[in-house]
């Protein structure tokens, strides 16, 4: 299932090899969450719905950016599992599964005894930051365009008085379920009087409900006791539980909910509260700040080469380059394609295979070269290549680098002796040409899961995956992927979502259950540098598990700029359910024009794609993400096409949130792989993109100079 969703942006589409897990991978994230963080930082306690708040109600507060939290809460009859991300200081996103324990999901034959499940995405924006007199002021929406069961909107403000943090807000929809005051927005228009659609539970009518219908006031106070591990919270609920979805009203003896949060350490919160005056709530939150994680010491990396006490005397012509190239691969992670000389500059071209932080690879390469070469070479240049395309050349001054290693100059002074340029072809004297590594293969166990469907809460599969790339030249290669299903519980998988569109994605069950042995990828790919800033790629074959065909992409990515523009077009045909060489009859021409804009503000990348999707629908996808300095990326995407919300079905439009964590932050060994967790509520046919194996924006990732410059201190590691 891992290959089914793919984001259009560089963000999730992943440079390099990448492990992608879909749909609420709660457990794997825990590993990342337990990384130690030694900071007295700002992480407000979470509400039952996840996100900074009291119990049932949200607050205007935000955690420090980079915070990620998993919150599980239980208050009869609801169990809620929330993933909260704080990509920006003023933006909070939450993905949630809700289980309604006293309602059945579906007919016994399909769902057994499974309780009803609801998935949703929330967004909260802080519009105003607290100051001496003014409060924090935030606006938010629960379940934006989802199934609508618990959807609601709110505005809320917070003001702190010493150890007390008071909040006051107004809610609409579920957040203001009591609905005892007339909507103040009625002043603007009568249409705000009524909240349309109600709790249809299908999401079909959920558009244009925002801030409509009667409202209610909510608020409360959070008290930080003198013991840092204990926080007390009390609130006035905005809901009276008389309009619960699924005809499931609850008795409320008191609108006041109160309880305590125990915070034994930075990563764990335990909560207990009395809600509705008669029901106990238990909550558990695991949280950490991913942006501040530096990862463990790299004990399994080879030690950086010691500088020779006696400087070498070899001229570039005398050096045993084959041996140096081997050392460059082993110690600097560079798979060398060539080594050349231009006057007093020595140039290594190749692909970085090991180090996530390119500065580290460059520093190590410089040490290796420094040990091998006598005087006469003053600059070392490393040209980063991927799939035969050169992105950036980084040059460092040999003498200044030596001074940096000896601590004679500061990193700041050294920075002036580093240059980054667009690789250009110049007259160079060839010293060594690395052999083409023809076969690149790997074998892995893959875990895929689908949470919260009507068949069973957890559908899982463990498969053995064999992957091979065979290179005919550096620019032309064939890729194959074979997968053998080892264990699964797909016998429970019976549900096919209804669709009014060509079934380009909703046949997912048939694709993953029809055959034990599948061949998700069988494709030939070629790349070409069309100009200094222009890249091209063409491919054909079985491109992903559900589609095969031919296609191509071009990307214009000017060096040193924060933007790029690319386009791809594909003629594809739907594949047979067995994922072999067979096709079904559906075919379509699909493609997009994508603009990438790095805003230069907190490394926010906006990728806007417009074009034709797999079901033949036309529309656009907006993907906004932030990459923190350590490589952690958080983002969200949404797609709207010319399919009406009604035709699209449950969910109204395609959307999701994701977090991508470099394994380098988790493992004691340097690696360029990433784990990407995507939470998208539903698989639908509208707004579905072709899941291309390679994207030029990812291949040319090293054109983003921020990774190098933001982590320059790693050049000495």
């Amino acid at each position: 299932m891992g290959t089914r969703t793919r984001r259009p942006s560089a963000a999730a589409t992943a440079p390099r090899r990448r492990i992608r897990l879909r749909c609420g991978c709660l457990l794997p994230l825990v590993g990342g969450l337990l990384m130690p963080v030694a900071h007295a930082d700002n992480a407000p306690s979470q509400s039952d719905f996840g996100g900074a708040g009291l119990w049932q109600t949200p607050s205007a507060r935000m955690a420090d950016d980079g915070e990620a939290a998993l919150t599980a809460s239980h208050v009869e009859p609801y169990d809620r599992y929330n993933v909260s991300l704080q990509p920006l200081p003023w933006l909070e996103g939450i993905f949630r599964y809700t289980a309604v324990s006293n309602r059945m999901y579906g007919p016994q034959s399909l769902s057994g005894n499974q309780s009803y499940k609801d998935k949703s995405i929330d967004v909260k924006l802080r519009l105003w930051t607290e100051s001496h007199y003014l409060p924090d002021f935030s606006v938010g929406a629960r379940d934006i365009g989802g199934t609508g069961l618990f959807s609601g909107e709110y505005v809320v403000m917070n003001k702190r008085f010493g150890a007390f943090d008071a909040s006051l807000g107004m809610g609409w929809g579920y957040v203001g379920g009591r609905g005892d005051i007339k909507n103040p927005l009625s002043v603007i228009s009568d249409k705000f009087d009524l909240r349309p659609g109600g709790q249809s539970g299908t999401g079909k009518f959920s558009s244009n409900r925002y801030f409509r219908g009667p409202a209610a006031v909510f608020g409360g106070v959070s008290y930080q006791t003198p013991w840092h591990w204990l926080v007390l919270k009390a609130e006035y609920d905005g809901n009276n539980y008389r309009h619960e979805p699924k005809n499931n009203n609850q008795r409320q003896d008191s609108p006041f909910n109160f309880g305590a949060v125990f915070r034994p350490n930075r990563n764990v919160d335990l909560s207990v509260a009395l809600e509705r005056g008669n029901t106990v709530m238990f909550g558990l939150t695991l949280h950490t700040n991913l942006a501040r994680s530096a990862g463990p010491a790299k004990l399994l990396d080879p030690a950086a080469p010691k500088r020779n006490a006696l400087s070498a005397s070899a001229t570039p012509e005398q050096v045993d380059w084959a041996s140096v190239a081997r050392t460059l691969r082993d110690n600097a992670g560079i798979q060398v394609s060539s080594i050349t000389r231009r006057g007093s500059e020595l140039i290594v071209k190749g692909e970085q295979k090991d180090y996530f932080y390119s500065a580290k690879g460059v520093g190590r390469a410089a040490r290796v070269l420094d040990n091998a070469l006598g005087p006469g070479i003053d600059w070392f240049t490393v040209v980063s290549q991927q799939q035969g395309l050169s992105a950036t050349e980084t040059s460092i001054n040999r003498q200044r680098f030596g001074q940096l290693l000896e601590h004679d100059i500061s990193l700041r002074d050294f920075r002036q002796s580093v240059e980054q340029n667009a690789p250009a072809s110049r007259r160079e004297e060839l010293l060594y040409r690395g052999p083409l590594k023809r076969v690149d293969q790997s074998f892995a166990l893959a875990y895929a899961q689908n949470l919260g469907g009507p068949d069973a809460f957890l559908l899982y599969q463990i498969a053995a995956v064999y992957s091979i790339d065979f290179y005919f030249t550096r620019n032309v290669w064939w890729s194959g992927l074979a997968s053998v299903d080892l264990f699964d519980n797909y016998d429970k998988f019976k549900y096919d979502a209804p669709s009014e569109l060509p079934r380009v994605r909703t046949d997912v069950r048939k694709y993953i259950t029809s055959s034990t042995v599948t061949m998700p990828i069988f494709q030939l790919t070629g790349t070409r540098q069309l100009g200094q800033d222009l890249y091209g790629m063409a491919y054909g074959g079985m491109l992903e598990s559900m589609f095969g065909g031919v296609g191509g992409e071009v990307l214009y990515r000017p060096f040193g700029e924060r933007w790029a523009i690319g386009s791809n077009i594909n003629w594809v045909k739907q594949r047979g359910y067995d994922q072999d060489f067979s096709f079904r009859s559906y075919k379509v021409v699909t493609g997009h024009v994508t603009g990438y804009f790095n805003l230069g503000y907190k490394d926010v990348l906006v990728a806007l794609s417009a074009g034709r999707y797999l079901a033949g629908d036309w529309g656009a996808t907006l993907d906004v993400s932030r990459e923190f300095r350590n490589g952690v990326r958080m983002g969200a995407y949404a797609t709207k096409t010319n399919v009406s919300a009604q035709q699209f079905g449950e969910g109204s439009f395609d959307k999701g949130i994701y977090v991508s964590i470099p394994f380098d932050l988790i493992l004691p060994r340097s690696t360029r792989t990433r784990a990407t967790f995507v939470w998208d509520p539903l698989i639908r046919d509208g707004g579905a993109m072709l899941n291309r194996r390679y994207s030029l924006y990812s291949i040319t990732d090293d054109r983003d100079l921020d990774n190098f410059n933001g982590n320059l201190e790693k050049i000495v590691e």
Partner: protein, 128 residues
């Protein structure tokens, strides 16, 4: 000693070995600059009880400048009160001018003044 902090000496460098001070100083928007005895573990903002800020002082923040040159901004109002910050001997508290009055003149004046104060060698104004 961290090797990266151990700079080689160059021509014209002067080595300055201050005596260990037993006091801290409060400067900036105060009625008069104060030198107060250091009380171990006393929170930085509590020193303002003994050295009253003037009418143009910012009501919300102070800058805590430790003798090693590190600068921290500490909230002193009820809405932004943070963790207590004990001082090291020779530390300085810079009471900033009210931010709202500065916007038109120089937005970062307080920040820059604090950064400048942090570069001053320990014990310089006490004479040696």
């Amino acid at each position: 000693m961290d090797a990266a902090e151990n700079w080689p000496v160059a021509d014209g460098d002067v080595l300055h070995f201050p005596q260990r001070p037993s006091s801290i100083r409060v400067v900036g928007a105060v009625a008069a600059a104060c030198e107060l005895p250091l009380v171990p573990l006393r929170d930085a903002r509590d020193y303002l009880d003994d050295c009253k800020p003037s009418g143009v002082a910012d009501a919300d923040w102070i800058f805590v400048i430790q003798p090693d040159g590190r600068i921290a901004k500490q909230g002193v109002a009820r809405w932004n009160r943070g963790q207590p910050m004990p001082l090291a001997p020779g530390a300085m508290i810079y009471v900033p001018l009210r931010e709202s009055g500065l916007h038109a003149v120089s937005r970062d004046l307080n920040q820059e003044l604090a950064a400048y104060l942090a570069t001053q060698p320990l014990g310089e104004t006490e004479g040696h």
